[in-house]
């Protein structure tokens, strides 16, 4: 497929990653007490490859009784796990990290097949970072008393964790690693369209010989997640997903004493000043919005360009977009993979229509879109204003809205004028301007002259309606500990 995208002097031969060495079972049950358990109602759903709509496996649909079984397993495992010498607990995490590294190629291929993301990303970002998170947190397990001066630390108990479909294995790692390092036991619910790498992770957990019940994985849809959120014996909810569901969760657990961390939506401003290194900035814009087809909560989906350089930036952006390779996620040359699901594609298309109807100018490079599967060409809207719906609402797709500005004050005001506050980007060659902007952005992560960088040592999480709590770094530990 990739070879259809002939652009200028560049023409790539197809270079698909082999799927020969991977193993996916035909059917996956629930992972409870380190065993595969059939769902109580015997219901399963299909997990498909969004790039060709072929079925990959059928996956168990857990109901509230299954969730209860998983929570009971986690509760039973908790006292022993929490009392395990911390050094030993840490060593389990190191084991998991190593096994993920050993199986990284298999994980990367399955991640790209199940979720649609380019193999270049799953291979170079998702899987190595997932292993790195377990490695980093493994080292914290026996050092927690140094993280919070003057405080006693204790684990919370059973953590219910609900993760999204955009970075399936990585989000599982972000959630599991700190929870386990801090001595909690876990019931994890993967997203329904991307359960497979979490279920492969269950095999890693078996292989690492974690005590039974410490990690339990229940697959299913929204009702499975709701059963987990509302289970009375869960002490902590960690959720990554939409702001609407995050609010629903907060209301559901009100008055229960459950602790929560919510990592929700975003509508990040990416700000380009006239004194920026424009070519680098253009690469940063492209990476900021088209990374993982824009299925990124911190995506730089609102571009602010200083008026004096807008023509140059837009021209270069369009040229660069024309060189993006869209197609087979398993092809190593692919830049833009498949949209994760039919439903998400419909959402994105709805916003493209809204943008056009609002009179914005839409640009898409001429690409061959594969016939089967779910695809959306990288899209640019120019002439956008603060009031436009595509500027205000999270699209979660490869859609960039461009606005212009003249002064620093103006762009600070516009950039912060959103209910979200997850991330922001600033591009300028002037150091003092960087610090002025980064300190004024009401956002939890600010990238200056770079974008979409992640690391286990670096806390991630939002201000305002992008949620609360941090994941990663020393700050991420607090979400899984009781301080006193």
């Amino acid at each position: 497929m990739a070879k259809d995208n002939k652009k200028g002097i560049f023409e790539y031969s197809a270079a698909p990653e082999s799927t020969g060495h991977i193993s996916i079972k035909e059917q996956y049950d629930l992972f409870i007490n380190n065993q595969w358990v059939k769902p109580q109602q015997g219901k399963y759903f299909d997990s498909i490859n969004p790039s060709n709509e072929n079925k990959l496996a059928s996956v168990a649909r857990a109901n509230d009784k299954d969730v209860d079984k998983a929570v009971k397993a986690a509760r039973k495992a908790f006292p022993t796990w929490a009392k395990l010498p911390a050094k030993e607990r840490g060593k389990y995490l190191y084991r998991i990290a190593r096994i993920i590294q050993e199986k990284s190629r298999e994980f990367a291929v399955i991640e790209s097949m199940d979720g649609g993301k380019p193999i270049r990303e799953s291979r170079d970002v998702d899987i190595p970072l997932a292993a790195a998170h377990f490695f980093y947190l493994g080292g914290w397990a026996d050092k927690l008393e140094y993280a919070f001066p003057g405080q006693n630390v204790e684990p919370l108990g059973v953590a219910g964790q609900i993760i999204p479909w955009n970075f399936p294995l990585l989000m599982a790692a972000w959630k599991l690693a700190p929870a386990l390092a801090c001595g909690n036991t876990v019931v994890l619910k993967p997203a329904e369209t991307t359960s497979l790498t979490a279920l492969k992770l269950a095999e890693v957990i078996q292989e690492a010989e974690l005590p039974e019940g410490v990690v339990n994985i229940v697959t299913g849809e929204g009702d499975t997640g709701a059963a987990l959120v509302n289970h009375p014996d869960v002490n902590k909810i960690a959720f990554t997903g939409s702001t609407d569901v995050g609010k629903l969760i907060q209301r559901s657990i009100a008055g229960t004493g459950k602790k929560a961390t919510l990592e929700l939506g975003g509508k990040a401003a990416n700000i380009i000043f006239e004194d920026a290194a424009i070519n680098q900035a253009v690469e940063g814009i492209i990476n900021g919005i088209y990374f993982n087809q824009g299925h990124v909560c911190c995506a730089g989906s609102r571009l602010f360009v200083q008026e004096s350089v807008v023509d140059e930036v837009i021209l270069k952006l369009k040229q660069r977009m024309g060189n993006l390779v869209l197609g087979d996620p398993l092809d190593k040359n692919t830049d833009i993979g498949a949209i994760n699901s039919k439903g998400q594609l419909q959402t994105i298309k709805k916003y493209l229509e809204i943008g056009k109807k609002d009179g914005l100018e839409m640009f898409q490079p001429k690409l061959t879109i594969p016939k089967k599967g779910f695809w959306c060409a990288p899209t640019l809207f120019t002439g956008a204003a603060q009031s436009h719906q595509i500027v205000q609402e999270e699209i979660f797709g490869p859609v960039l809205a461009v606005q212009t500005f003249r002064t620093i004050e103006e762009v600070i005001q516009k950039a912060n004028n959103t209910p979200y506050g997850l991330s922001a980007g600033v591009w300028t060659d002037k150091g003092s301007k960087i610090f002025n902007l980064t300190s004024k952005m009401r956002a939890g992560v600010v990238w200056a002259n770079t974008y979409n960088k992640f690391d286990p040592t670096s806390p991630f999480g939002g201000y305002k309606e992008s949620g609360y709590g941090r994941e990663g770094g020393v700050h991420g530990l607090e979400a899984y500990l009781k301080l006193s």
């Binding site: 790195a132 001066p149 003057g150 405080q151 702001t243 995050g246 609010k247 629903l248 907060q250 209301r251 657990i253 009100a254 008055g255 919510l262 929700l264 209910p419 960087i434 980064t438 300190s439 956002a443 939890g444 992560v445 600010v446 990238w447 200056a448 002259n449 770079t450 960088k453 690391d455 040592t457 670096s458 806390p459 991630f460 999480g461 201000y463 305002k464 309606e465 949620g467 609360y468 941090r470 770094g473 020393v474 700050h475 301080l483």
Partner: protein, 295 residues
Amino acid sequence: MGRLKVLKTYKLYIGGAFPRTESGRYYQPKAEDEKPMANMCLASRKDFRNSVVAARKAVAGWSGRTAYNRSQILYRIAEMLENNRAHFEEELILQGSSKEEATAEVDASIDRWVYYAGWCDKYTQIFGSVNPVASSHFNFSTLEAMGVVAGICPEDHALLGPTSILAPIIASGNTAIVVASKSRPLSSISLAEVLNNSDVPGGVINILTGDAQELLPHIGAHMDVNAVWYLGNDAAAWKQLQVDAAGNLKRISDINSDKGLMDAGWETPYVLKAFTEVKTTWHPIEVIGASGSGY
């Protein structure tokens, strides 16, 4: 017949001014002898909304001050309180404290302002970090004020209550709105008079008297409040606040609600930390040549 005493009119404190409640309502908290202590304003939803506007307007200026400057202003509050301690003790006795209790509470309140004055320019050093990312980037995390924070005073400790809420909230650069103790509201408004005389910019601190139970749903649901600190012990109200707060995902905390205001363990920087956000900043580090750093 001796001289007739001039009585004080207690009003609200909003945006650096002392307005009466727009609602025109009042209530009479009773002293131990069942006599009314004063006619207090029964603040309305509209008074709260006005306070939010004043507090929001003050955020940029206050959080933009240097930490050293905020520290000096908090210390100045302690100086002004010390200067007026006789009045505060007298007022605490009127509100039901013994002489000894009143002295101890004024001491503790002055010292609490000094304690948090000291944290203004230190908490980011304790809770911030430089993060050793596995790529060529400089990466650091620091704490920033959340913005507008509302707090409900506990019913006891008329002076130490508002002091304990306000000092850690504003130390990091937040602006604050507090609802005074309903039964012992006098000290909160006298504190406002001290604040107004202590270089605290108008709007940074706003104090309402009235019925916290009436105001709490409006506080929880207000879309321009960033956080609420609840120190009460009404489980139903605390639950409702969590529901209401979901509207804009405002941060809510009951930190230290399990501790007495006079407890030695009350004072910690974790109270201050509860009303800050962690911000992480990335910037590339240039690497010249493939073999490593150029210089």
